[in-house]
């Protein structure tokens, strides 16, 4: 059943928006498209689609990487650096990048998903190397921390909040805050500082990125049992403004409200970005096309080994007298042809929920399940504006622009990092489905039409920008079904998650969801680790 415009707005933006959103006519005279992941393939796999390649369609390869997202491409780069160049990266979508993909249209490049990475701390050496290779890191300070080229750091003014009818600097709703609000904000920051200072007996930090560098000490892991909101209350924080800030952060990073985000994950967001107690948050690195810039770099490094439009439909470990290998069945979504690869190793860089569907007898062999891996859905819209919204007062247009009362996360300005401050621009609008969207609601929303969704986007943006409808020339929407792993309480510490990274014979796993949090650094870390696992086994293969 199709939702009415009112129902859709109420579902997505909440009751208050219905009141404001009723007046303008629903007709949106503009162009745009609704994109999505290739649902077809996903469903066909679930429905048992198992094509077999003809006997003459097989070929040998040392490593097959399943998935050309951040993790898969990072794995490919790591293999090359380990002197292994006999591999392919198989990506089901026509474009690589997964949830970090981006697009270029005319003069503008803009993200469809991930858009920034905080400057890595000195201990994230592999990532610093990648950024150095990209020319993003120019040199290292004496302590090993990277010095990032100015143009890649998020340009000031960075973020603003539309609060009580006015744009204010920063994300904290400071207007009218009481002394108690400020005291609590300060106390919160001090508490985060204690986590930043915390070290376990082996010197590991409480919260580090990649998370593989962090402690697994019980005291810290216990935090995963609580929700972030519970933790705040437990620590005596009741300032509504502070709760809003934390809730916003959880929605922004994990697509979950503070009530359903694990406190461990919530604190990771705040504490992992501090170099030292009392330090400012690490600055952010961003590009007009967001993390699509990193993807493009990795894709260039990997070169023709990256094959897009190639859906892996089955992975079957085989033991034979010619040695052990994995049969990889590939379905070319363009030509509809089926080919097979006999790969010595597979790096499975797709999300874990696909493992039981793709890997033959996965559960029977590994005794592992993936049902605790839960994913959130997102809508991302790119709005092409012929000019910027006029603004008389308040803090000027920033890179990140957030609306206090909105359920969306606001928008990022694609031209900001290009230094373009006038005229046409592209805004990337983000909307996570939090847990308040039941399965039923989610199904409904995923069925909504472009026109209805475009109207929701505009209704949301009309609050701070009443003239937005006159400025938008094109509005594209991307519907991400399984977009982001959800770090709900208990998931990080769960056995299922901790074991998921262990190889299944010659199949190695690499995806950000293994960390329980969706971050580029995690995807990169898993990609590098999986490649290392493979590289360490290659000499034995040759024997």
């Amino acid at each position: 059943m199709r939702l009415s415009r009112r129902e859709l707005i109420a579902l997505m933006l909440g009751a208050p928006a219905v009141a404001t959103g009723c007046s303008p006519p629903p007709v949106v005279p503009l162009h745009g498209e609704l994109f999505g992941q290739s649902f077809d393939i996903g469903h066909r796999l679930r429905d048992g689609f198992r094509p077999r390649p003809a006997d003459d369609q097989w070929r040998d390869v040392q490593v097959a990487i399943v998935g050309g997202g951040a993790a898969g491409l990072s794995a490919g780069r790591a293999l090359l650096q380990g002197k292994c160049d006999d591999f392919v990266v198989l990506e089901l979508e026509p474009v690589a990048g997964g949830t970090s993909r981006s697009e270029k249209k005319g003069d503008f490049a803009y993200p469809w998903g991930a858009h920034y990475v905080p400057v890595p701390l000195a201990d994230n050496v592999p990532l610093i190397r990648l950024f150095t290779e990209m020319g993003v890191v120019e040199s290292l300070a004496a302590d090993g921390s990277p010095i990032v080229a100015e143009q890649y750091l998020c340009r000031d003014p960075e973020e603003r909040l539309f609060y009580q009818g006015e744009w204010i600097e920063g994300l904290y709703p400071a207007t009218g805050a009481s002394v108690d609000d400020h005291v609590q904000l300060k106390a919160f920051r001090e508490l985060i500082d204690t986590f930043a200072a915390w070290r376990d007996s082996t010197g590991r930090r409480a919260f580090a990125i990649p998370t593989s560098l962090a402690t697994d000490d019980k005291e810290i892991m216990e935090l995963d049992k609580l929700s972030m909101a519970d933790w705040l209350r437990y620590e005596g924080f009741n300032s509504a403004r502070l709760h809003w800030l934390v809730d916003y952060s959880c929605r922004d990073d994990y697509g979950l409200s503070a009530e359903t985000t694990s406190a461990w994950a919530g604190l990771l967001y705040f504490a992992s970005r501090l170099r030292a107690p009392g330090a400012d948050h690490q600055p952010l690195i961003s590009w007009p096309e967001g993390n699509g810039r990193i993807i493009n770099h990795l894709a260039e490094v990997v070169g023709p080994r990256l094959q897009t439009g190639m859906a892996v439909t089955q992975l079957t470990p085989v033991t034979s007298d010619r040695g052990d290998f994995v049969e990889v069945t590939c379905f070319n979504t363009q030509t509809q042809s089926v080919t097979g690869l006999r790969a010595r190793h597979v790096i499975f860089a797709a999300p874990q929920f696909l493992a039981p569907r793709l890997i033959t007898e996965f559960t029977e062999r590994t005794k592992r399940k993936t049902d605790e891996f839960e994913y959130g859905s997102w809508f991302v819209a790119n709005l092409h504006l012929k000019d910027r919204p006029k603004q008389q007062q308040g803090y000027p247009l920033c890179w990140d622009n957030v609306m206090f009362r909105s359920r969306s996360l606001g928008y990022v300005v694609a031209t900001h990092q290009a230094g373009r401050d006038y005229g046409p621009t592209v805004l990337t609008w983000y909307y996570p489905f939090t847990e308040s969207h039941t399965r039923e609601i989610r199904e409904k929303l995923l069925k909504a039409t472009w026109a209805d969704l475009a109207d929701v986007v505009l209704t949301d943006l009309e609050v701070p920008h009443p003239q937005i409808r006159q400025l938008v020339e094109r509005l594209d929407i991307f519907r991400w079904g399984h977009a982001m792993i959800r770090p709900k309480p208990g998931f990080i510490a769960s056995q299922q998650r901790r074991e998921a990274r262990h190889p299944d014979g010659r199949i190695h796993f690499a995806n950000t969801d293994l960390s329980g949090v969706a971050l580029f650094e995690e995807a990169f870390d898993h990609g590098c680790r999986a490649a290392d696992e493979v590289l360490s086994m290659l000499p034995q293969d040759r024997v």
Partner: protein
């Protein structure tokens, strides 16, 4: 009924009308002359053209008055009054509005002058014919002429002393329009015996409408942006427009005209030569024969005027984001006069693009000198043009030994801002020599001479400038680099894209002075 039924009292009132009519008539003429010389420059020509045209139009009006039949004299007089009220009263606001929108502004202006002149020329002959019945001819002529001349004297005294300074051009014109309209409506009472009943009501209604319209315009004028700017800027606004990038306002006073961008003074035609000589020549004089020059900002063309004084110049590239600015001289002849139409020189190429984007483009051309004349760093979009990133990109635009000069706000008012720019350049690896110059309308002004290589200690003006520079000679040129005690260096952060330290300093320092 005849005019003979008018008693003596209204007759005195009729003389008062003559006085008002005469005053307003001359004010319109003065207004048109002032407006023409403000907007088109060359005041002697404009004034004599306007006066000549106006007088001949008055003659034409007087001649037309012959064709008015005796019985419709009174109605005609009142209609003419309402016509003057409308055309004359709205002349200044309409002409100002037309200036930035109409290409053939001259035609519109002189059309107005002619229309007002003819209407005013009709007034007195009609009035005299109305009064003819009451007085003998000599008496009539001498009295009317006396009041006419008194009115002219009144106008010429009040116009410069009270009207323009207090009310501004727009409201002066509206006020005179109102007076004319009042005379018209009043006439429907004074001359009532001469008017037929039917026409009377329609005349009064029209009169009320004209008065209403002018009153609204008069009251609204206060809230019009132009006038609010006028009171803020203290001078008559002769041109204002909001481009995609900024608000451009030109004001005019007896001493000259001024350009404001977003409310910040860019130059005053009186003393801009000091600013532009100080900006350009320190960068160009150390170069043997400067050929390729880059100007960033400076869309008024005044810096380019200084650059073109060097005969060795082969090309000047000017990058200014705002086409509204770089074409201003085409629409505002006094600026073309001042800049010697420098942007129309065949050696000059104008590029309308954000200098940040233009400079950052790979493999661009290189230059012998760069003159940077950006507005003060009052917002983030301009602040980026003073960052280490920007200065780093600029290095790829420099030939060996190239010199850069930069306007850098006032080191006296905003020392942190000034020295922040110095430190930022140093952090980017430039050699830097700070200097300053007094520019009366700006105050103590700061500049920086920078180069990727060494900068000579002593500078000497090029021979080509001998006798041409109004401010600089060799002593003054070198003297600008001597900093007095109150301009000592202060420690500051470096301005980067990700901290925009300069915009924050600037806000803080100029905020105190505003």
């Amino acid at each position: 009924m005849s005019a003979g039924s008018m008693n003596r009292a209204p007759l005195v009132l009729l003389y008062l009308n003559v006085l008002i009519i005469a005053t307003c008539g001359l004010v319109y003429e003065l207004l048109a002359g002032t407006l023409a010389s403000y907007l088109l420059g060359d005041s002697v020509t404009q004034f004599s053209l306007v006066i000549g045209l106006y007088l001949s139009a008055m003659g034409a009006g007087a001649w037309i008055s012959r064709f008015v039949a005796d019985k419709s004299l009174a109605r005609c007089f009142i209609e003419v009054e309402l016509g003057v009220a409308l055309v004359g009263g709205l002349s200044a606001p309409l002409l100002f509005a037309a200036f930035s929108r109409v290409d053939i502004f001259g035609v519109v202006l002189y059309g107005f002058v002619f229309a007002i002149g003819s209407l005013v020329g009709l007034e007195l002959p009609l009035l005299m014919r109305l009064l003819k019945e009451h007085l003998d001819f000599e008496d009539l002529v001498s009295r009317v002429l006396a009041f006419d001349y008194i009115g002219a004297l009144l106008a010429s005294l009040m116009f410069p002393i009270f009207l323009v300074p207090r009310l501004g051009l727009i409201r002066t014109s509206l006020l005179c329009g109102l007076l004319n309209a009042v005379v018209g409506v009043w006439g429907t009472y004074l001359l009532r015996p001469l008017l037929n009943r039917h026409g009377l009501l329609s005349l009064r209604i029209r009169g009320a409408l004209v008065i209403g319209l002018l009153l609204i315009a008069f009251v609204q004028a206060e809230t019009l942006t132009k006038l609010s700017e006028e009171s803020a800027l203290g001078h008559a606004v002769i041109h204002a427009e909001t481009t995609q990038y900024q608000r451009l306002v030109l004001t005019r006073s007896e001493q000259g005209f001024r350009l404001y961008l977003n409310g910040h003074l860019q130059f005053n035609s009186m003393d801009e030569y000091r600013y532009h000589e100080a900006l350009v020549h320190p960068a160009l004089s150390p170069i043997k024969s400067p050929k390729q020059i880059l100007v960033l900002g400076g869309g008024d063309g005044l810096a380019v005027r200084e650059i073109l004084r060097y005969p060795s110049i082969e090309s000047v590239t000017l990058v200014d984001i705002d086409p509204g600015m770089t074409t201003l001289a085409d629409r505002f002849p006094p600026l073309a006069e001042l800049s010697k139409a420098s942007l129309r020189d065949p050696r000059v190429t104008v590029i309308n693009e954000d200098a940040f984007i233009w400079t950052g483009r790979a493999n661009g051309p290189k230059f012998d000198a760069v003159v940077i004349d950006f507005p003060d760093p009052g917002n983030f979009a301009i602040g980026k043009l003073y960052t280490t990133r920007f200065y780093r990109m600029l290095r790829d635009r420099l030939n060996d030994g190239a010199m850069i000069s930069i306007q850098c706000t006032s080191p006296l008012v905003a020392p942190k801002s000034y020295w922040c720019i110095v430190s930022t350049l140093e952090a980017t690896g430039y050699q830097v020599r700070p200097y300053h110059a007094p520019v009366p309308t700006f105050g103590e002004w700061g500049f920086i001479l920078a180069s990727a290589g060494p900068i000579p200690d002593q500078l000497a003006l090029s021979k080509d400038l001998t006798g041409k520079s109004r401010f600089l000679n060799d002593e003054v040129l070198n003297g600008m680099f001597v900093l007095p005690h109150d301009l000592v260096r202060v420690k500051t952060d470096i301005n980067q894209l990700n901290n925009q330290a300069l915009v924050h300093y600037y806000d803080e320092e100029w905020g105190v002075w505003k």
